[in-house]
């Protein structure tokens, strides 16, 4: 049987090759055939999840909640030192200096990354802003969010923190972070589906021991991840409860 693996579409384009290398390593380690399918957007990936086509997934916190509670997936590991924090930025010349100064009618650029959008909208609540009094501009990537700000076509943008600080310094100089989340308890996780439940311990063990071999370390380097930390069932349930509370 060939299992199917996928990755949350918010992964950095720089690491596409890394995920193919990771898949080769995982197949070799487990002795199983695994096909890696990368989706362009969240909706097409969710369609495959709903159709039970996915067996392994590196999921964002928003989708991890659905996978664990509705699809019987098990969270095994999270990337070390990589939390899902969010930045709201404005053009460098914006007169706005704090969130509370943002006004109704705000033109807000964002991507379809559900977790980042959720946390970003929470950070706008102190200004009494919600989707009802904001002009929302959903765009394809964080680079386009930045472009909208630089062109003066958006007043504020929501970024994954990692993506914001991954932009070129030239682009970043034209923007100013207004607020950054400091949540710490929300993270991406590697999950396995019910068809691989009997191999969960072997996969978890292989992931957390990747740093122990030169081969494993070079795969991690290609993914831009320092290593994997164990996620217990209760760790994952805790994050899901947290996501339920804020959504």
């Amino acid at each position: 049987m060939t299992y199917q693996m996928t990755v949350s579409p918010d992964f950095s384009p720089r690491h596409i090759a890394g995920w193919y290398i990771f898949n080769t390593w995982l197949q070799k380690t487990l002795g199983e055939d695994i096909h890696l399918e990368l989706y362009q957007d969240f909706e097409s990936q969710r369609k495959s999840i709903r159709e039970d086509k996915i067996d392994l997934i590196y999921a964002n916190p928003f989708d991890a909640s659905m996978l664990i509670r509705e699809k019987g997936f098990i969270a095994l590991a999270r990337p070390l030192g990589k939390e899902d924090e969010v930045v709201i930025a404005v053009p460098a010349n914006s007169p706005v200096n704090k969130v509370e100064e943002l006004q109704s009618g705000l033109r807000l650029a964002f991507t379809d990354d559900p977790n980042v959008h959720l946390v970003g909208m929470i950070m706008l609540e102190p200004a009494n802003l919600s989707s009802e009094n904001i002009r929302l501009q959903m765009v394809d990537s964080y680079a386009v969010v930045a472009k909208q700000l630089l062109r003066g076509e958006a007043d504020a943008g929501i970024f994954l923190k990692e993506a914001f600080y991954g932009l070129s310094s030239l682009t970043r100089r034209e923007m100013r972070p207004l607020v950054e989340s400091q949540i710490s308890d929300i993270f991406h996780a590697f999950l396995v589906g019910p068809r691989l439940a009997d191999k969960k311990d072997a996969i978890q063990d292989a992931l957390v021991r990747m740093t122990e071999t030169p081969g494993g370390r070079s795969v991690l380097e290609a993914l831009g991840i320092a290593g994997w930390a164990n996620v217990s069932r209760e760790d994952a349930e805790f994050m899901v409860d947290l996501m339920d509370a804020i959504r």
Binding site: M123, E125, S181, Q182, E237, I246
Partner: protein, 189 residues
């Protein structure tokens, strides 16, 4: 009644901590102490849903909610705190050790109507999410304002505890809620 902050060095912190642990073991939540309070305070006797009561000392000093942070805590089904994150510690003014094992109502501010917490408990005990604006009491007698969401922790079909997440509220909506709470408290009185 009012007073000002006093300083005392007569009791070593270790002894205070031991006394705290003993009272917690005995299930007693101690009165707020004037030496912990900053600024002019008023004194209230709060009686909680379980019949226990304690003296709280309250000032009008607000600690602004920090941008970008979430306050996270968990309790068991009896409302006893089992987990707090650093933002909870920072905003409440208590240490982690002082919080774990205490009833969550250690944060209850006398300006909050009893009906709000009854609604919270009725909602989460029925397995649903509760959301609302809350004024919380700090150890130093001051307060902080939050939008709170509480969800039941369901494991194998059973509620085993509750997770509470608090975030910075809309000032406008918070003020409307505080006006409503003042009217509710008048009726309760």
């Amino acid at each position: 009644m009012s007073g000002t902050r006093k300083h005392t060095n007569s009791i070593q912190p270790e002894i205070q901590a031991a006394q705290w642990r003993l009272r917690r073991f005995q299930g007693i939540m101690e009165d707020m102490r004037p030496e912990d309070v900053v600024g002019e305070y008023r004194e209230y006797e709060l009686t909680y849903y379980d019949g226990t009561s304690r003296k709280v000392l309250v000032t009008d000093i607000e600690t602004p909610y920090p941008d970008g942070k979430l306050i996270v805590s968990r309790t068991n089904t009896a409302g006893v705190i089992t987990h707090v994150n650093q933002a909870f510690v920072d905003m409440s003014g208590y240490t982690r050790e002082e919080l774990i094992g205490q009833p969550h109502y250690i944060l209850r501010h006398p300006d909050m109507p009893r009906a709000a917490f009854k609604d919270l408990w009725d909602t989460v005990q029925s397995g649903k999410k509760w959301e609302g604006y809350v004024k919380n009491l700090r150890k130093d007698g001051g307060y902080y304002l939050v939008f709170a969401s509480v969800v039941p922790n369901v494991r194998d079909g059973k509620i085993v505890g509750y997770t509470s997440v608090r975030r910075k509220p809309s000032r406008q909506k918070m003020e409307a809620a505080l006006r409503l709470y003042a009217r509710m408290r008048e009726k309760e009185a």
